[in-house]
Symmetry: C2
Subunit: 223 residues, 2 copies
Amino acid sequence: MWQIYQFPLCPFSRKVRLLLAEKGVPYELIRENPWEHREAFQMLNHAGRTPVLHNPEKQITLADSRAICEYFEETVDKAPMINGTATGRAEIRRLVAMFDENFFAAVTQPLLEERMKKRLVYRQSPDSRVLRDAMRLANDHLYYIDYLIDNRPWLAGSTMSLADLAAAAQISVADYLGGIDWSLHEQAASWYSVFKSRPSFRPLLTERMDVIQPPSHYADVNA
Amino acid sequence: MWQIYQFPLCPFSRKVRLLLAEKGVPYELIRENPWEHREAFQMLNHAGRTPVLHNPEKQITLADSRAICEYFEETVDKAPMINGTATGRAEIRRLVAMFDENFFAAVTQPLLEERMKKRLVYRQSPDSRVLRDAMRLANDHLYYIDYLIDNRPWLAGSTMSLADLAAAAQISVADYLGGIDWSLHEQAASWYSVFKSRPSFRPLLTERMDVIQPPSHYADVNA
């Protein structure tokens, strides 16, 4: 069986887990805190990042969440998530990159730093200026989702794709850490609430990251 | 014809240009400084990053360098660069991500900030501590390339792949900005010197970024 080295609030591990669940690929979780720089983990992935997928029977190790997603897209026919014409696939990958890179750098990463690592690792208080900036930039991204959902049923077009999984993965971590204000974003909220009730998403919403608690609306599918 | 919005020291544009040249796809360059946040450019790419590829005849706009590379890999058969088995392709993509993300964040981005943007935009002097850190981390990456080239003719295996193009693109920008010390890296230097003499690479080496000059070895194929 595939083993996923991850921690509960890793957005890239969440994206891979959503993909595997949609495709019906079973996996087991192995807890890995990449900030501990464990030597055995560095050997699995020179980049030192989660997720890493390891299959002991097949003797395969995969690293980098986009490389992992492309691998399962190529090897498992069920539930294609990078589908359509070459330009359609480019649009899916453009949006995946936007959430993996821009949203992560502007929103998820500072929230993880301020609200998770400062609490669990450094025993410091969060910097309220950094939190405010992250929430403002989250808001900008939600406006862009509103715009996309005004024009398309799913983020990259007429069907659910890896773009939706990547966006939902980042947003779910930001939401857990109290970084999302849904009040001004009817379209984004309705798109996300559909996601929250999918069977692939439910296991993520029930997990907790050590002593850090999410806001009450986080796992509520009707919120 | 394809138009590439880019600036001469954008490592992601260089990766795409190397791929297009290897595949024999003609293009023209359009100078874009993404730090100017030009509104018309933001309309082409919401993420505001170079490169963006635009084809006026086909009315196609592509953004995100990895999405762009996958698009040309899917639509142009010549010179396959993400080739082989599913695990082989995952290895290529893992290394592309390592250079696009880890090398860029640790080396190329701080060098661009200190030696390009501070000079051209902010009119400040570079921070020598940041430069030292970037050069030390470049050194760590070159050791990893030495290790790969000890075991394989090309970074991801027996043939040239997008991993080599991604690595050479980042390294060429770092080298232009004086961030690479080749003296301890015989294997990495021999791999890179093969690249420097490829026809796809020559146009990049002759370009200059405004008033910023590269070190004398930069464009020398025998250095």
